[in-house]
Amino acid sequence: MELKNVNIKGIPTAEFNDNEYLENYIKELEANGVNVVLSKIDELINWGRSNSVWPLIYATSCCGIEFMATAAAHHDIARFGMEVTRNSPRQADLMIVAGTMVHKMAPLIKRVYDQMAEPKYVVAMGACAISGGPFINSYHVVPGVDQIIPVDVYIPGCPPRPESLFYGLMQLQRKIKVEQFLGNKQR
């Protein structure tokens, strides 16, 4: 698996941010060694998974509205096959954390994350979810959702515009595409 084989329609690989992370990730995975046949099947599986990311919207504030705008006609998240927002964590693949996380909410988001079925991914959308954003100095705010659950992609913005969200989701698709389902125990 090489990074240049990971294609996303519309944007050339070289123009994506943070390619080093993926390269390192691939190297790490390949250290485990996977034979060719399995890797072909893996590609098919990853193709399916990356193109069918059903999100669970963990929206607490403003970014949730921006997600709604993304889902609506003007930007249409359905083009990526992601309009199937599942409100039940059991059926979702991706948790989009959109908004501030506070102390009172922390156990709940952890619980919802635990309820999700593997494979599961988390996207931190907006400054609040990434770092606490404007409220970083507050007594009741968790400084970033990555303190509670592992985050795969960070989408900065306050709130990120729909195109930024799409970009972040495409980054996630890239990450899913380099994963190995067979022959690798991690995830």
Binding site: I8, K9, G10, I11, N17, D18, Y21, L22, A73, H74, H75, D76, R79, A127, I130, S131, G132, G133, P134, F135, I136, N137, P143, G144, D146, V151, D152, V153, Y154, I155, P156, G157, C158, P160, R161, P162, E163, S164, F166, Y167, G168, M170, Q171, K175
Partner: protein, 190 residues
């Protein structure tokens, strides 16, 4: 009798209202779709110039910028997104002068309130509309916005000197504590 009439009129009014609703969706089925298809339209997509997505420090062809490292942006930032580090050097004519070391800005914390830009006395920074910023690693969001080896553009008209503030040590912003300690301070010159 009246109740029967009501029963049927209710039925027909109801059905006609439903049909009206369906006629609206039918018309929408054939209208032009408003969807703009990012990323396919990446080359033609117009995002307003004023849209704030990323803080940049414009450098000219000589790799020079306008930042005097006064730190006003850092003071005005409501949540400590900007950390300006500077160093004192001695110029050729023997004067002490503060120059910019790093201008560090955390994209993952910025609220895009624009206070840094409007208060900057030398117009050294501005927001740009580059929206493709998502990354896999948190530390990638902490950016140094002055270029490597850049220096202050010498101007004929001196910018009003601003009292030096305590020089803040460059600390990795990933540790949030480090940022928190930087309480906004009031510039003494007005």
């Amino acid at each position: 009798m009246r109740s029967i009439a009501k029963y049927f009129s209710g039925l027909f009014i109801g059905i006609s209202s439903l049909l009206k609703g369906m006629s609206v969706t039918w018309r929408e089925l054939w209208t032009k779709k408003v969807t703009q298809q990012y990323p396919e339209n990446r080359d033609t997509l117009v995002i307003s110039d004023r849209f704030r997505c990323e803080l940049v420090m414009p450098h000219d062809e000589n790799n020079e910028h306008a930042c005097t490292a006064c730190g006003i942006c850092q003071m005005n930032c409501p949540n400590g997104t900007i950390v300006v580090t500077s160093q004192m050097i001695e110029t050729e004519d023997g004067k002490k002068k503060k120059i910019l070391d790093t201008h560090q800005w955390d994209l993952g914390m910025c609220t895009f309130c624009n206070l840094c830009v409007i208060t900057c006395p030398s117009d050294a920074i501005k927001f740009e509309n580059t929206y493709e910023n998502a990354v896999f690693t948190r530390s990638k969001l902490v950016q140094k916005i002055n270029h490597e080896g850049s220096k202050l553009r010498e101007k004929k008209k001196e910018v009003k000197p601003v009292e030096a503030k305590p020089v803040v040590e460059a600390k990795p912003v990933v540790e949030k504590k480090a940022v928190e300690e930087v309480k906004p301070e009031e510039p003494k010159a007005e």
